[in-house]
Each structure stands twice: as C-alpha cells, then as structure tokens.
C-alpha cells in the first residue's frame, strides 16, 4: 500500500511537470487517454469476468463508427444522438457473435477462443473493406471543432466529452457491479464460474450479458469518436492492443486503474508526438508500456 502511494505521488508530480512544460501534450493527452479508457473499459470487463480476450474489440468500435456514419449521412442523425440506435444495435450484434461463435467454444482450450476472436476480427475488417472500400470517410459537424481556452492554452473543447463519458461509464459500471443483483452475480461468475453455477446463478446468461454489454459500451465510444476520426476499416484495430496494454498496466479487475492508465498512455503518446522529428514513434509507446507492465508483473511477483 505504501509503495502504491509513493508511486501515485511520483506519477502526480510527473503529470504536473508535463502540464507545466508541455501544456498542449498534457491536455491532448488527457483527452486522448480518456478515449483509450472509454474503449478499454469494456475489454477489461470481458477479460476480467468471462476471462475472454476479445481480439475483435477494436473492430466492434469500427463497426459502430460506420453505423454512426451511416445514420448521419442517410438520415442526418446527429452523432451525439445516434447512440440511442447504435448501442442497442451493437448490443444485439455482440449477443449474436457470442451465441454463434464464442459460446460453443467456451469449454475448449482457451487458445481456441483467442484464435476465434482473431478470426472474427479479420472477417469484420474485410467485410467492411468489401462493402465500403478502404476509402476513409469523415463526419463533419460544426460543434466538433470548437476550442476552449484553459489558462491561455487553446485546445479542442469537444474532446472533453470523452473525459465526461469515461467518468460516467466508469461510475455506472462500478455502481452496477456493486449495487445490483445482476452485477454481484457478474462478480461471482468472474471469481468462480462453477461456484456461481452451484449457488444458482445462470452463468451462461451472465456471460452473454457481459459480452453484449461490452459491445454496447463500445458503440458509445464509437459515436463520440466518429466526428473526430477518419472512418476506415482498420480505424478501430489499434484500440484492441492499446486496450489490452492498459488492462495489463492496471491489473485485471481494476476498472478505475484502467482510466488512470489510459490517461498516462495518452499523455505519454502526446508527449512523444510533441518532440519534433519523433512523431512517427508515438504508436510505439503502448508497446513499451505493455512490455514495462509485463516486466513489472513478472519480476515483481517474485519479490512478493
């Protein structure tokens, strides 16, 4: 506990220094990091409770981006309203993928599940590629390009919605897991599926529910992201690995830690981007973080 405290103090000082020295990197990083947290939370939920690493996670995000785009161009629906449609749609999609592909393989070797979700991700990317080609698409709404002035630093105002959303989603998830019957059942299944089944919890239902819920939450992130990102078949892919590296950093089951880890990753990436000539290396940061987390876990465990 004491070591954790020292760690947090060091982290806080480092963040403060970055905020002071490179304010743009700091604010962009917080925004970017909130988005990472928003996307990583559902992945962590599935990983922590069903014990399944969904390698198609990022592709769920891509799918929701395309849905938002479609609603916007076909019916002129505002991207901030579209979650009312895309969340239920992705919930249903997640449920179908779970029932069709994943459920029947839950009992086999867990490597099969990794391979399966990997296959699903490829099929999704390529289907999008065939239907909508690889041409990037964009949604333009005027409010997405407003900027706000924070202590003399002008940054995009829209992106702070990510921060608001991630706080709301995190609070909602924690309340759900702690206060509702279904949430507690979900916890129980995560700890011991057999035991949960013995005390009368419908384990299959909980699995299906968590998987669909995660897909639905991704749709929320997708709607927010859609106006600030190009939409193309590989748009969501990198989020899978980034989300996993956040989960590795925070530790399984530590949902608030994921948001914090997301912000740290976001700031680190923006910091690297702000160094002239090193912009291209920013995408390497998550890998360094992942390896660092693995080293910390692998070698820290031996001490403990």
């Amino acid at each position: 506990m004491k070591r954790n405290f020292v760690g947090y103090v060091v982290l806080a000082i480092a963040l403060f220094l970055i905020a002071l020295l490179r304010p743009y990197a700091f604010f962009y990083g917080v925004q970017r990091g909130s988005l990472y947290g928003l996307v990583a939370l559902p992945l962590a939920l599935i990983l922590g409770i069903v014990g399944l690493l969904n390698l198609a996670h990022g592709e769920f995000l891509t799918l929701s981006l395309y849905m938002t785009y479609l609603l916007f161009t076909k019916w002129g629906m505002d991207p901030l309203v579209s979650p009312a449609v895309t969340v239920p749609l992705l919930l249903a999609f997640g449920f179908v993928v779970y029932k069709l592909v994943i459920e029947r393989s839950l009992k086999t070797h867990h490597l099969n599940l990794l391979l399966l979700t990997f296959g699903v991700s490829i099929v999704m990317v390529e289907s999008l590629n065939i239907w909508w080609t690889s041409r990037p698409r964009n949604i333009y709404v005027p409010y997405a390009s407003t900027s706000v002035n924070i202590f003399g630093v002008y940054v995009g105002g829209y992106e702070f919605l990510y921060t608001i959303a991630v706080v709301l989603v995190l609070t909602g998830l924690l309340l759900f897991l702690k206060k509702t019957r279904l949430g507690q059942a979900t916890y129980a299944v995560g700890q011991n599926p057999k035991g949960a089944a013995i005390v009368g919890i419908n384990v299959k239902f909980v699995y299906a529910f968590v998987f669909s819920l995660a897909a639905g939450l991704v749709a929320l992130a997708g709607a927010l992201l859609s106006v600030r990102s190009s939409i193309f078949p590989q748009a969501g892919g990198p989020f899978t690995m980034k989300s996993f590296s956040l989960t590795a950093m925070a530790g399984l089951g530590n949902l608030p830690g994921i948001v914090l880890a997301g912000i740290v990753l976001g700031i680190a990436e923006e910091f690297v981007k702000s160094i002239p000539g090193y912009t291209g290396w920013a995408d390497l940061v998550f890998f360094v973080v992942l390896i660092a987390a693995i080293v910390f876990r692998a070698f820290g465990r031996r001490e403990g």
Binding site: G119, G280, D283, L290, I291, A298
Partner: protein, 303 residues
C-alpha cells in the same frame, strides 16, 4: 520401407522442375514458403503458446536480409542466415521477458510485433528506406526460378526435419507436458521457461529465414506488403485446416489451401483475407482437429 518412400518423395520433389512448367514451380515455391511458416507456428503452438508473431518475424527477416545485401554487401545466400540470426536475437530478448507471463500476454505481445516492427521500418528511413521500402538490383540467383525452388525446397525440408525431431525426441515429452499441465510439468522437473524460450527462438529464426527467402526472391521490401497480415493469417489457417500438433497436418493444410488460394486469386482479385478469416473461424468451431487429426481419429476408432 517408410524411410525409403520418404527419400523417393524428396528426390522427386528435387527433380520436379525438369518435368513441370514454370507456373507450377512458382506455385509450389509459394506453397513451401507458407508451409514452413505454418509448421513453425504449429511448433510453437505445441507448447501451448499461441504466437501471432509470424508476420512480424517474417518481415523482420525480410528487412534484415535486404539490408544485409544492400548496405553490407553480404552474399544473398548468407543474408538468409543473417536474417535468421537477427530474428532469433530479437526473439530471445523478447521471449526472455514475455515468456515469464505466457498465454494471453504472449499472444498479444506477438500480435503487436508486426505493427511495432513496421513502425521501426517506417521511421528508421536511413536504414530501411522508410515507407517507400528498399529495392535490390537483382533477386537471388539472378532470378532463376528453378534454383530458387531448390533453395526454398531445402529450407522447407529442413523445417519439416526439425519439426519431426521435435516430435520424436525427448523434447516432445517436455513440450506436451507443458501444454497439458504446466504445474505438473514443473513438478516433474521440466524447466518450462527454458523450453519455451528455446522453441520461441528457434521458430522465430525459421520465420526470419523464410522472410529473407521471400524478400530475396522478389528483391524488395516495403512496410505495408512485407508486414502484411497475409503472412500471419494464411499459415495459421493452413495449420488449423490440416491439423495442429503434428508435422503432417500443416503440410496437408499448406498444399490444400495453397492450391485453393491460387484458384481464389483467379476468381476473386482482392479481399481474400475474408475467406481465410472464415476458414479460421469455421475450422476451430467445426473441425478443431483439422483434416489430418480427424482422419487419424477415424482410423483409430475403427481399430
């Protein structure tokens, strides 16, 4: 008798260019490239570790070999060894860290590899030519496709031999024990970490060498196409369709899917990956043992 048959098949494979046309030789060369990748992936899978790093080490080897020839004027043939050594070195450093946690951590780290190596290839432009890539003046053996066929065949046969050695020697028991139950294996005195690291380094070296072969054959590297997901998805599908945990399975899968993919190129000019993705999903769901495994089981059941 069995060995005699195998020897005859090998000799026939070497003599094949004298009887068939250039197109078939080209197809066979590409099949054997993918066969070696599929087999090396399966060798790692036998230890219970799922590696998505095939495309990464393949591309790494390709770059290492092209750079070795272009900047250090090493003989193309030797550059393949250089590539294998380089891939092995990187795998050693990486495996030494990641194989302590294994499984999901290992799978995801190896999955990140091809994009990580791609970032290096893009940004170290003095060495790698950046996003434009690098082109050599001429391909290996001055582009003589029959000599290339022989070279690829020798590499493929070596990989098959290594895979068979794994299946027939003491290593096999250690590997199977680790896959089935790590704790039991540990209790029986198997040094899990050492074995996993050994297999990871060896299979990565194979993937690097195969990447070098491929790059030398076409005499160029370029980030997008060298680190293409093709070199991950196709070998994995081949091994799964043919049957994992054996030498013969991936070979069967490589021949079946390799021929099928040639046909696919004719009827479907782009977007093949969706077919391989579907094959991957459907095989795991409905034919988890693959063709070879299912046939072996049927025969065993009849006896």
């Amino acid at each position: 008798m069995k060995y005699f048959m195998i020897a005859i098949v090998c000799v026939l494979c070497f003599l094949l260019p004298f009887f068939v046309g250039a197109y078939l030789i080209h197809v066979l060369t590409s099949i054997m490239i993918f066969l070696s990748l599929a087999l090396s992936w399966d060798m790692m899978l036998r230890t219970g570790q799922l590696s998505f790093g095939i495309a990464g080490f393949f591309g790494l080897g390709a770059y290492a070999s092209i750079i070795a020839v272009d900047d250090f004027s090493i003989d193309p043939l030797w550059s393949i060894l250089v590539a294998a050594g380089f891939a092995a070195l990187i795998a050693l450093a990486l495996g030494w860290i990641v194989l302590r946690l294994r499984e999901i951590y290992f799978a995801i780290t190896t999955l990140a590899l091809s994009s990580v190596f791609m970032i290096f290839a893009r940004n170290l432009s003095d060495l790698t030519g950046g996003s434009a890539g690098k082109v050599l003046y001429e391909s290996i053996f001055k582009g003589d496709s029959i000599k290339i066929y022989w070279l690829v065949l020798s590499v493929a046969l070596t990989v098959i031999l290594v895979s068979e050695l794994f299946q027939r020697t003491r290593i096999r028991f250690a590997i199977n024990a680790i896959r089935d139950d790590e704790i039991a294996a540990k209790c029986s005195g198997v040094n899990i970490f050492k074995y996993l690291l050994f297999v990871f380094v060896l299979t990565s070296a194979i993937q690097g060498a195969v990447g070098a072969l491929y790059a030398q054959q076409y005499a160029f590297v370029e980030p997008e196409s060298t680190f293409s997901a093709n070199f991950l998805l196709l070998p994995m599908s081949m091994a799964l369709v043919g049957g994992i945990y054996s030498s013969l399975g991936p070979i069967i899968g490589a021949v079946v899917l390799g021929l099928a993919s040639e046909y696919l190129k004719l009827i479907m000019p782009y977007g093949h990956l969706i077919i391989y993705g579907l094959i991957l999903v459907l095989t795991i769901m409905f034919l988890p043992r693959g063709i070879y495994g299912t046939v072996v089981n049927r025969i065993a059941a009849k006896r």
